[in-house]
Subunit: 339 residues, 2 copies
DNA sequence: AATTCTTGCTTCATCGATTGAGCAAGCATG
DNA sequence: CATGCTTGCTCAATCGATGAAGCAAGAATT
């Protein structure tokens, strides 16, 4: 019974023949509803044993084709280059598996075209549900899925065509800005407007964070300098560029900065070290997102950590409940203690 | 022709009916081999247009079931909490897509049981090929796949049942250790044995890195202190624990350390800052793996960056060539310049 | 003894796409 | 005019799993 090189995989028909029974019985036994189908315990055991011996593996493509629900759940995610998205994906996989769902994830490199292409591919694989994380154009993805009758949920960035789970960006930004302003005052004895750098001016999160940034300034009686609101994109190079251009225009650089992601912070820090502009006195920084090594960079950096476990609990709460009403759940982020 | 809520998805049969032709013709047109099947350009165009209008999406389950190759490629990966695995996954997806393959990735949390479960799931989804990245027990995964006639490739950690692509761990560790020893001498004027911390004593990479570590000591005429070889696991807590216990045993802590991954470095750095043991003079560090913020932590840290693009080129080179001979390709890592 | 019920299966259509085989019409060739 | 070739399609089997419907044998009921 040992095939050295198994050209064809074992199917339920092979097992049926070996057990002297029908494929239907084998199927019923192996997918667990043999009691419902009145298969004897004796036959069930025999089939189970045979399946084990033969190293039988269900052909999911065939199974899914026949069933109404695929139990496949998709996620699109922009990048894997930071702890935030990394932990989102880890949590997503764990929670999906815990529910007997098979997660498939595609990284779209923040490219709207790839987002759509990936969503289309997932629809072809018959996903039951698609979570769009940080999608540049979530509503187009949603429409595509809606046309195929597939549920969707927005994560990180909200959309208007499906339920969304996001951080409380305004609240987080408000508190983060407060702290940076306070640090500036403590350190330099003066309240001056901060720089806002990174993110896309058109995305909801960035807009909300800018709003929190403005309100914290207002609270502190500081006027925001509009030339210092630099929503230049997330990539390190873009943040670096923005800094360089700013330095070319002004000699009086801001004492503190609100940096809109760890990945933008990478560019900002690089510029700070290379340009030497802040050689005499370090700028007070705030970063919207957490990274363990950033935390070690010094006590001039404050961070806001988005609450990934709570966010994913909310996502699966929506999935489990079957809710489809277009709500936006806001999860408060955690403002990290320094050190 | 507008269904508000599309209960059933559009199939080739629907399109055939709309076009007044056969499902066979529709299939041929949509999967691109209509020339081979002598379908007229006129009909092809008509079908293509209809498919677009109807928002037709191929049912991959049905397609894969019928075809001999699924064009699905699987990868298992330990964690998403560091730049190394993050960039591996990003590259893997990009290269797979460029070849018309659909990548599915599962994160196994460094759990051997999950590795096997994930591999089994991928086999059920009919992957054509499976890349096992940093697998704890690669050979069991390979055997499972071999029984199903699925090709496999080891990445990051080698196995003995399939081709492997790994870093030149020995060479990287040798050079890294040299540099840390040199930095120690420059800084403290003395050559003392370094600490090796992190990784699993049983995994190939860690053993090779320890070997490089030893040889660099020998070269420099320094005797390795066996009590300072702490292959305690990768997790930050484990590294932190190892440091604490070491400090309890000795008052004379090592001047320099070889840290076996960024994730272990996280624990080491945490301990250094919290314990205050190195308050007077920072230890010279070397980290096997790269992280942008670690690079900014100061010039007392050297890093080795594994060459992910080259590694993945090698992986897909093997896949494209169809080679199955059990070789180990070693890719030299890049030793980063400080700053 | 005749009827109904239960148990333990088997048969067969089905999911949607693919593809070898075949067929009819048109054209060219001898 | 008969034959063969080309063009442009259609037919039907198939991939593997699923589950409604059905059937035969035995047990229980009247």
């Amino acid at each position: 019974m040992n095939r050295t090189t198994q050209t064809k995989r074992t199917t339920i028909y092979d097992l049926a023949e070996l057990a002297g029974t029908s494929a239907s019985a084998v199927s019923a036994v192996l997918n667990g509803n043999w009691k419902k189908r009145r298969i004897s315990a004796k036959l069930a055991e025999k089939i189970t044993k045979l399946a084990e011996e033969q190293g039988y593996a269900l052909n999911m493509q065939a199974s899914v084709l026949r069933r109404d629900r695929s139990k496949i759940i998709g996620m699109i995610v922009p990048k894997y280059d930071n702890r935030y998205f990394g932990s989102i994906v880890e949590q997503f996989e764990a929670l999906a598996r815990a529910r007997g769902l098979f997660p498939i994830i595609t990284c779209t490199m923040r490219d709207p075209a790839l987002e759509l292409e990936a969503a289309r591919a997932m629809l072809s694989y018959q996903v039951d549900c698609l979570v769009a994380t940080g999608a540049t154009d979530p509503d187009r993805v949603m429409d595509l899925c809606a046309a195929a009758g597939v549920r969707t949920i927005n994560l990180d960035l909200p959309g208007s065509h499906a339920p969304s789970v996001i951080s409380d960006n305004y609240g987080g930004a408000l508190e983060l800005t407060r702290r940076v302003l306070a640090n500036c005052e403590k350190e330099y004895g003066e309240k001056t407007p901060l720089l806002f750098v990174g993110g896309r001016g058109t995305d909801h999160n960035t807009m909300e964070r800018v709003r929190g940034f403005r309100d914290a300034h207002a609270e502190a009686g500081v006027t925001v300098d509009e030339a210092l609101v630099q929503t230049c994109g997330y990539a390190p190079e873009k943040a670096e560029n923005a800094m360089r251009q700013l330095a070319e225009r002004t000699s009086d650089l801001p004492r503190g900065m609100f940096v809109n992601s760890t990945i933008s912070l990478e560019g900002v820090m690089r510029w700070i070290r290379r340009s030497g502009h802040y050689a005499d006195r370090v700028p007070q920084l705030g970063c919207f997102d957490w990274d363990p090594f950033v935390a070690m960079l010094g006590d001039h950096i404050e961070m806001v950590r988005q609450d990934v476990p709570k966010m994913l609990d909310a996502v699966f709460g929506i999935i489990d409940s079957g809710a489809t009403d277009i709500t936006v759940v806001q999860i408060p982020p955690i403002v990290e203690k320094i050190g």
